[in-house]
C-alpha cells in the first residue's frame, strides 16, 4: 500500500519548482494523485500542479510522460513546463509536474451532470483525438489511458487529451512487468490486449478501442461495459465477449457513424482499423454521409 499524499508533502515540493507558484485549490483527486490549480506569482498565469505518489520505476515513467507530451507537440495536449521526482522514503517517491492550465471541465464531470453529446460534438471530439493520435502513432506512442477523466473540454468547447502518465513508447523497452497477469489499465476503457498484458499486441489500436468506448459513452451517457456491472470480472468478461451496442444517433441516417464507433471499439483487435490513417480514411467517408 502507498500512503496518502499529505498537505505537508505537497508544501515540501514547492521550493523545488523554479517558478514561484501559489496553490489555489484542489481540482482533482484520484488514487495516489492530487491535481491543484496554481498561479505563477510573477506572471499571474494559471497553472496545474500535479503530484503523484508512486513506487517502482518512477523516474523512467515520468521521463516518458514528459517526452510523449513534448514530441507529440499538439495544441490539444497541455504543455508540461517543469517536472521532477522527490524521494519520500525507500519505497515511495513523489512525481510532480507543472502544466498548462485548461480552463474547463473534464468530460467525466460533464457526463456526471447528465449531459450527452450531439453527433456534431462527437464528430469534433473524434477529429481532435485523431489529430493527437496520428502524431502519437508517428512517434510510436500509445496513450493507453483515454477515458473521460483524461479528456478536458475548455470554455471555448475545445477538446484536450491529458495525462500521458502510462503512455507506452513502442520503440523503448516496456517498463510494465512482462509476466504480470494484468498490464496498466483503466477498467471499462482498456482493450483486452492491454489489460491482459499482451505486450506484443499493444499499438495504437488499444487507443482506438478506448476512443470507441468514450464516444459511445458521450452518446449514450454511460459506459456500456461498466453500466450496472457487479464487479471488475464482469466488466472484463463483457469486454472480451460482447461488442459495443449499436447506437442510434440523430443525424446518422445511414447508421455509418454508429458502425464506425463500433469498429473503433471492437473487442477484437483485428477488426479495428490498423492505423490512424486507416481510421481517418473511413471516418472521412462516414462524415460525408452525416446530416449535421
Amino acid at each position: 500500500m502507498i500512503d496518502e499524499i499529505t498537505i505537508k508533502e505537497i508544501e515540501s515540493l514547492l521550493p523545488n519548482i523554479s517558478r514561484k507558484i501559489e496553490i489555489k485549490g484542489l481540482i482533482g483527486k484520484g488514487g495516489q494523485k492530487h491535481v491543484y490549480k496554481a498561479i505563477d506569482l510573477d506572471t499571474g498565469e494559471n497553472l496545474v500542479f500535479k503530484v503523484l505518489k508512486v513506487k517502482g520505476n518512477i523516474l523512467e515513467r515520468l521521463k516518458r510522460e514528459v517526452r510523449a507530451v513534448d514530441i507529440i507537440d499538439s495544441n490539444h495536449i497541455p504543455k508540461i513546463f517543469e517536472s521532477n521526482v522527490n524521494i519520500v522514503s525507500e519505497a515511495e517517491s513523489l512525481i510532480w509536474l507543472v502544466e498548462e492550465f485548461i480552463d474547463g471541465d473534464s468530460l467525466r464531470t460533464i457526463l456526471q451532470s447528465g449531459r450527452t453529446f450531439s453527433l456534431s460534438e462527437v464528430v469534433e471530439f473524434i477529429n481532435v483525438m485523431f489529430l493527437i493520435l496520428e502524431k502519437a502513432e508517428k512517434h510510436n506512442i500509445v496513450h493507453r489511458d483515454i477515458k473521460p477523466e483524461n479528456i478536458m473540454i475548455d470554455v471555448q468547447g475545445e477538446y484536450w487529451l491529458i495525462d500521458f502518465g502510462i503512455s507506452r513508447h513502442l520503440d523503448l523497452e516496456s517498463i510494465t512487468i512482462t509476466h504480470a497477469p494484468f498490464g496498466l489499465f483503466t477498467i471499462g476503457y482498456s482493450a483486452a490486449e492491454q489489460f491482459r498484458n499482451r505486450k506484443k499486441q499493444i499499438d495504437i489500436r488499444a487507443d482506438l478501442f478506448s476512443l470507441g468506448v468514450v464516444a459511445t459513452e458521450m452518446i449514450q451517457g454511460y459506459n456500456p461495459y461498466l453500466h450496472k456491472a457487479s464487479d471488475i470480472l464482469q466488466v472484463i468478461k463483457r469486454i472480451e465477449q460482447k461488442p459495443l451496442p449499436a447506437l442510434r444517433i440523430d443525424g446518422d441516417d445511414r447508421f455509418l457513424m454508429a458502425k464506425f464507433i463500433k469498429i473503433l471499439g471492437d473487442n477484437r483487435l483485428s477488426r479495428r482499423p490498423k492505423t490512424i490513417r486507416d481510421a481517418i480514411k473511413i471516418f472521412d467517408i462516414v462524415k460525408s454521409t452525416l446530416n449535421i
Binding site: E193, R198, K200, Q201, E240, L256, K259, F260, I263, R268, L269, S270, R271, P273, K274, D278, K281, I282, I285, V286
Partner: protein
Amino acid sequence: MELFLQMGHGMMEHCYHLIQHWGTGTVIVSPKNLTLEQILKFSKKISKNNGSILIDPQFYIPRTSQENLHNHSFWPNTFDTTTFFNGDGIDKLIDIFLNEYILPSDSSGIIIPSLYLEDINEDWCNINELIINSLNRYQLVSPKYLTLCIGEEIIKSEEKIHMLIEQVEDYPVDGFYIIPVHPNNEYLIDNMTWLINLIDLVAGLKLLDKRIILGYANHQFLSFAVAKIDAICAGIWLKTRMFPLGDFVADDEDSSFGGRRTTWYYCPQALSEYQIPFLDVAHRVGIIDQLATADSFQSGYPTPLFSGAQPSTVAFNETKAFRHYLQCLKTQCDEINKDSYDETKRYLRLLFETASDLSDYFRSNGVRGKYREFTNVADSTLALIDAFDAMRGLVFNTNWDEL
C-alpha cells in the same frame, strides 16, 4: 478471386486439359497423390501450357499413416517431436523440400509446411516460427504462404480465431494457405458460427496485406469474395472440395464423403449438384431446360444432357461432370471480381438469392440434390454476407482498391 485446381487422385489429365483450355491457371499439387518424378513431369507440362503449380507439402500430421507421403524425401524418417523440432529436423525438411521440389519444379510460390492446428498453444507458435526462420535462411523471391490447417473446434470459436490472427499477424510471409476442417464433415455448410469465424479470419489476414488462398473449397466459398479472398481451390472429388482430415489421420483412402461413386451435374445458376436420375425427373416434368448451363460458362461438357433425350441415356460421364464443375466454378470466380465492395456484395446477394429460388423451385418439382443442394445452406450463406457487412463492411468498402 481466382480458382486454383486442388490436386487429388486421378486429376492430372483434368488439370492438363483445363489449364490448356483456360490458357493459364494454378494447380495445388498433392504429394499424397504424386511421386517427386511425377510432380516434376507434371509441372513441366503445366508450365508448357502457361500454367503454374504450388506444392502443398501436406505436413499437417507428420505421423500420418499415408505411406505415399512417407515415401517423399522431405518427409522425416523418424518423427520425434522433441528431437525433430529441437535438432536439425526442420532445416533438413526445408532444405530438401526447397532444393528437390520447389526449385526444380519452378513452383510459383512456396507453401510453408505447418502442423494441423487443433489448439492454439505455445508449441504450435514456436514450431511455426522455427519453420519460418529455417526458410528465411534462403533469399527467396517467390511468395511464401504459411499453411493454416485449422480444426473444426477452433473455427467455431471467435476467441480462438482472433488469437490466431493476433499470433500470425507479424509473421514474415506473403500470405496464408488456409485449410479449414468442415463442421460435422458437411460438404455445404449451414453452421453460421463456423462460416462467420472463417470469413472473419480471412478478412483479418487480408487486411494485413496478405494474399489468402482457401484450400479444399467449393462453390459455397464464392461468398468469400466479399472479403476479397485471392483464390479458392477445388478439384474433382469431394475430398478436394472439403479437407479430408481422416485421410491424413488414418488410412481410409476410400472412405469418401457422400457414399457411392455417382455422377453429379453442377447447375451453376442454382449452385446445386444433381444426380442424373433427378435430371430424368426434370426431363419428365418439363423443367430440364431450366437446369441447363448458359453458354456464357463456356462449358460444352453437359450439352448432351439437354439435347431432348432422357438424360440417363446420353453420354455424360464422370470426366465430363468433373470438368464441367471446374469450368463453371472458374467462370463464377472470374465473374465475381467487381470494382467495389458494394458491387461485390450486391452481386453475391443476387447470385445466392437466385440460386436459392431456383433450387427451391427444382425441389418443388421433385428435382433434389440431396446434400449438394444449395437450398440447405441458402439462408446461412446469405446471412454470412450480411453479418460480414455488419462486422467488416465499412473497412472493406473504404480499402477495397488497396486490398
